[in-house]
Structure formats: structure tokens, C-alpha cells
Amino acid sequence: MSILIIAEHDNSSLKEITLTTVTAASLIGGDIDVLVVGEGCTGAAEAAALISGVNRVRVADHACYNGQLAENVAALIQSLANDYSHIMAPATANGKSILPRVAAALDVSHFSDIIGVESADTFKRTLYAGNAIATVQSSDNIKVMTVRGTAFALAEKKGSAPVESLTQVHDLGLSAFISEALAVSERPELTSASIVISGGRGMQNGDNFSMLEKVADKLGAAVGASRAAVDAGFVPNDMQVGQTGKIVAPDLYIAVGISGAIQHLAGMKDSKVIVAINKDPDAPIFQIADYGLVADLFDAVPELEQAL
């Protein structure tokens, strides 16, 4: 068995979520190759070589891979596919965009967002926004899948895999990268932060989110929001945690003024430790929180910031 993992990176650095995919791959067993595709991606390739358990890093560094356009990257992967029994990628926008395209080109099925490895051909994944977990088995010769980062631990970075350059150029000319507008934030990204502090409608307005930011700065945390807070226009959409937003599973999730509508719970219930601060003792969030504080958030949050 041999596994190809598509690295998530921004050319200069490797995204940590790649490490969780390596862990998932190691549960399948067999040689693990990591493919780094981009333009000027030496930094990311070097970081990939450090991942424990990686057999080889393969690098395709070319202008046609700028922006990691799905058409070109998929064509590249397709050309490598016959050497592998499994092709995996983190379930990021890139992975989710590219791998189904690869699967169809190979005429095989695809598993999205797996959360568990049962065997080399059997995996677990969620349905209905996490309300059901299916165990699914593939009969295809090559298994293609994306992996939910929050479901697996990070692989260690104690390896030293050889780095091999690929010279294939797959420029289909179907699409072109124009620009990228990174969400400006000094804080870690929501989906990769080890601590997340989120506010709900109880925050009353967008300005009050500065209280959460202060706590976040002390903890090195990302700031999120419930759908209710986004709908109320307090904060932008990309902060939304939940069924229709981002799914997070940090070590610590602090829910502030969030009642805990099931849609929100779907996005954070896999966090290791959940803290809820809400003045309503009957708020459903308390039913899943490890620690609850029945308090006015306008008292408790500044106090928390002071105590850190």
C-alpha cells in the first residue's frame, strides 16, 4: 500500500492541518508520500520533509501551479495516481476542490471529510451536519478522500524525508489565478487555533467583541462567533462557527453569550474542553460544556482577561 498526501500550504510554510492527514494515513499503513504543489514552494516542501512517518516529499514547483488551481493540480495528481492505493488531502477549500476532480478523472469514488479510519478501505464520515456518522467502504482500486483536520492528532515533526522534484507541467490553461485577499488577522486562523473564544447574540453589538479579542490576545486564541451574532451583523461571516460556518475542534473552546443552538454545537462540539459563559442557566450550551459559568458576560469576560 502507498499513500499520496496533498500538502496544504501557502508556498512558504506548511499548514499544520497537513500533519493530521499524515496521522490519518499512518492509520491505514504503507508508505506515505507528500506532494507539495505550488510556485516557489521550497519552504513548504522542507517543512513537509520533517513530518515523522513520511517516506518522500514530491515537489511540483512551477508558475502554472500558482494559486493551486484545481484544474492543473488535479491533472498533475492524476498523472501520479497509478503509483498509489490512496490519495488524501486535508479537507480544506483546496483539498475539497481538487480531490473530487481527481477521483472523477480516475473514475473512482471519493470520501469527503473522513473522521475515522477503520481499515484500508473503510472509513467514518459525518452526515447531516454531524447528526449521523456513517461507516463507509469503497470498492475502488484507488481510494481518494479528504480528511477532517480536527478528527486526527498532529503527526510529529521529527522526520527527514528526501525531497524529490517533479518536472511535469500540467498547464491546462482553463483558469488563471487573479488575487487573494487574506482575512486580516494577527490571531491564528479559526480552524487551526488551539484555543477559540466565540461570542453570540449576548454580546449585544460588534464593538463588544473587543472584549473577546483582549482575552484572545492573552491566550493566543482565535475569535469566532455564532450564527446569531453574524446574522445580527455584529461580525463578518468568516468568523462564524457552526453547521453553515467553520467547524472547529480546538483544545479549548470558550462560548460567550451563546445559547447553544444545535447549529452552533455542530461546529464546535468536538472541542476538547468547552467553557460556557451565559447568564441564562437554562441555555443549552451548559448541557455540553465541561465548565459553565452562569454570569453576566460583561462582568465575567473582563474578569477573565484580568485573571489570565
Binding site: 477549500a93 476532480r101 447531516y128 483558469s175 487573479i178 487573494e180 487574506l182 444545535i262 460544556a289
Partner: protein, 249 residues
């Protein structure tokens, strides 16, 4: 330019789905069904392109059970011109759905295919990408903005780090994200009109596509329910517990 919009019948997003007692599947018995919200956004976008004079005709396509007619009627009520149902009694996998849709594309020759970014039942997010692959077309997934300039289409995509803008050659497959638009309500007169718009039904078997499943669902389970912990009396106690008991800060 013709636009093909693919729509899927799914359980209503407001309904909580539960797993069958025998763990074979989820229980959809008498559950309210609806048009997949992301598909609704795709239909709305197509209608806006038609209203802007860019699209000439909108064809709504659904591949599923005969009841999917209801969702096609909804698409017609929002503004699609005609509908095609490729009927199958069993749920088809995304790869097969994409192959069937590719056959429809051969027949209809649309300039643009719009789909939802994923369906809220299986949460796959595959069909659009697979369809683009099979047709050899360009793809723009998770679109929150699209702009057509001649034979090119600029797509702003919602990616993990923010927004990415790419330019695709047409014809293209675009999957629609939540923030692309806010779908309109279907009005009563339009719902009545939709009942008279053409809706053609064909059997999936007619297309010469191998419909055999590649994936076996071994079981479907309810996720473990997280239990509530303790209610603390003060912020100080909370900080203490997070530091010593859990070691997370």
C-alpha cells in the same frame, strides 16, 4: 447562453435528522423535505444572470427520486424556464450523478453550470468538481461572487485563509456558497405558473451510465452525546480548573 442548474431534494435544514433504530440509515419517514439551500442559491444566481440579460435560458436538473419534481417546481417558481428530472429509485453516488449530468450537458450545451457547494444531507461537496472533471471544463468552487466578461468568468471563492479570485474559461462549472446571494421568495403566481412550465422525466437507465454503487454504507450511528460538566461559581475557579485540571491554558 444557456445555464444548467442542478438541484437536489434534501431534508429541510430546520429538521433534525435521527438515525434509524437498526443503524442502517437515517430516518426520513415523513420528514419535511426541501430544496438544498445551496442549490437554491444557485437557482437564484442563474435567475439574476437571466434578468441581467446574460443568460437566455435556465434549465433545472435534478437527479433523484420522483418526488424531486417538487424541488424542480420550486426552481421553476424561482425563475428556471424548464426542468429535467433523471429519475432513480435508489440514491446515486456523486460520481454517477456527475456522469449523468455530463450526458445532459452533451445534449443541452450550456455555457455555465451552477450547483450548490454541497448538499446538506450527505455533506459531500463533490458533484460539481466531478462534473467539471468529466467534461474537462474549468471549475470554480465555493463562489461568493461571480462576474461574467465575454467568454471568461471571474469567481471569488471562499477559501480557508480568506477570499481567492480566479478567472475561468467558459464553459465552466461553478458551485455556490452561502454568501453569493439571498434567494428570493417564490410568489404565489409564480408557484402557479411553475406548475405549467415543462418538466421532463427520464429514467437514469436511459443514459447508458453504469449506475452500480462503488460505496457500501456499513452502518449509520448517532454521534456520542457530550455530557455537561460542572457549573462553577467564579472566574477564578474557572481559570484554576483550566490550568490545573485540564492544562489547556
Amino acid at each position: 447562453m444557456k445555464i444548467l442548474v442542478m438541484v437536489k431534494r434534501v431534508s429541510d435544514p430546520n429538521v433534525t435528522i435521527r438515525v434509524n433504530a437498526d443503524n442502517s440509515d437515517v430516518d426520513l419517514n415523513n420528514v419535511k423535505m426541501a430544496l438544498n439551500p445551496f442549490c437554491e442559491i444557485a437557482v437564484e444566481e442563474a435567475v439574476r444572470l437571466k434578468e441581467a440579460g446574460i443568460a437566455s435560458e435556465i434549465i433545472a436538473l435534478s437527479i433523484g427520486s420522483s418526488q424531486s419534481q417538487e424541488q424542480l417546481r420550486t426552481a421553476l417558481a424561482i425563475g428556471a424556464d424548464r426542468a429535467l428530472l433523471i429519475e432513480s429509485d435508489t440514491a446515486l453516488e456523486p460520481l454517477i450523478v456527475a456522469k449523468l449530468a455530463a450526458k445532459v450537458i452533451e445534449e443541452e450545451q450550456p455555457g455555465l453550470v451552477l450547483l450548490g457547494k454541497q448538499s446538506i444531507d450527505t455533506d459531500n461537496s463533490q458533484t460539481g468538481q466531478m462534473l467539471a472533471s468529466i467534461t474537462g471544463w474549468s471549475q470554480g468552487t465555493f463562489a461568493s461572487k461571480l462576474e461574467i466578461n465575454g467568454d471568461k468568468i471571474n469567481i471569488t471563492r471562499e477559501v480557508d485563509s480568506g477570499l481567492q479570485t480566479i478567472c475561468l474559461n467558459m464553459p465552466a462549472v461553478v458551485t455556490c456558497d452561502l454568501r453569493l446571494n439571498e434567494p428570493r421568495y417564490a410568489s404565489l403566481p409564480n408557484i402557479m405558473k411553475a406548475k405549467r412550465k415543462p418538466l421532463v422525466t427520464k429514467a437514469a437507465e436511459e443514459y447508458g451510465v453504469d449506475l452500480a454503487p462503488r460505496i457500501r454504507t456499513l452502518k449509520v450511528e448517532t454521534p456520542n452525546i457530550r455530557q455537561g460538566g460542572e457549573i462553577l461559581s467564579s472566574v477564578a475557579e474557572l481559570v484554576e480548573k483550566l490550568k490545573t485540571e485540564k492544562g489547556v491554558i
